[in-house]
Symmetry: C2
Subunit: 171 residues, 2 copies
DNA sequence: GTCTATAAGACGATAGAC
DNA sequence: GTCTATCGTCTTATAGAC
């Protein structure tokens, strides 16, 4: 069970650096210090490595998507969840080959649907153009400035949340 | 010269859907209705297709990175440039295999450096934590809500810019 | 749980005919 | 400018010994 964790850690790094499609099983095995065959003892396929890798963060974001919390709590949760899964969150929403594999597996709620659901909650029912754009803006701040900053301490967290709320401008 | 344009158009679609590493020359040739060999008459390698594809948008963003315009003009330019190259802009900053190939070629300023330069201009000299976070927030609004909205008309453009300026909050 | 060996095919790229 | 045919390599994945 320890080797399994090491495989996931190595895969996470390589997927982030080269993409899922651009990373081979042989490359992962090389870093692991074993052979490809040893890897297939722990995982049935390359796609299953990816699934195991994104399972937890995807579930966390899916939970957010179903949340009907008020904007301030929802945006704070987006910041915190993005910060918690900082390493995997990049590959999640970016690498097209990752999206493709997860879509084929129909594993759960896709990343696109999750984003859309959170933005819809922020925008409220039957939103005007203004409300819709502002919801997108607030979400962009919460998600992407957390990603860009890398590490988010309490000072950064408070500033990101405040900026997101200004972008939303509910007053 | 017409075939070359069609190849780039097809490659753009496939790279966006499956990623650069996840798209084969055979797949592009199949969509084109010809063979792989025909493709190699127009481009010397797969990487060269990618280079040709991102040349113009990358130059446009690099020009922004060197601009020392005031925040409002700079953010407006980010919105407009992102909107102009909406189709290619996604693959640019997202697909890890794209980043890798462009980095190997050392083609020009990388996407990361461009983003960092624009944020640095927004943050101003020797920025505090607050200024730095707000610069990231404003840039996130300009870039990612434009991407998320897909098409940006004059109404959306004005709302995005206003939201980005509120996030920056220079007052 | 890891190994060697190998299957079976996809990949990028090229040669040479037309 | 496009074709057929092919080279050499890399790919995912499996079989079977240890």
């Amino acid at each position: 069970m320890e080797t399994r964790r090491r495989i996931l850690e190595i895969a996470r790094e390589l997927f982030a650096a080269q993409g899922y499609a651009g990373t081979s099983i042989a490359h992962i095995a090389g870093r692991l210090g074993t052979t490809k065959a040893a890897l297939y003892y722990h995982f049935d396929s390359k796609a299953e490595i990816l699934s195991a890798l994104v399972e937890e963060p995807l579930a966390a974001f899916a939970k957010l998507a179903e949340s009907k919390a008020a904007p301030e709590e929802l945006l704070a949760a987006v910041i915190d969840t993005t910060g918690t899964y900082l390493n995997t969150a990049e590959a999640l929403g970016s690498d097209p080959s990752v999206r493709l594999v997860l879509k084929e597996r129909a594993q759960e709620l896709g990343a696109d649907e999750i984003n859309a659901a959170i933005v819809a909650t922020l925008a409220g029912p039957r939103p005007s153009v203004k409300r819709r754009v502002r919801a997108h803006a607030a979400y962009a701040v919460a998600k992407h400035s957390t990603l860009a900053l890398g590490e988010v301490g309490p000072r950064e967290r408070a500033e990101i949340l405040a900026a997101a709320l200004r972008a939303l401008d509910e007053s």
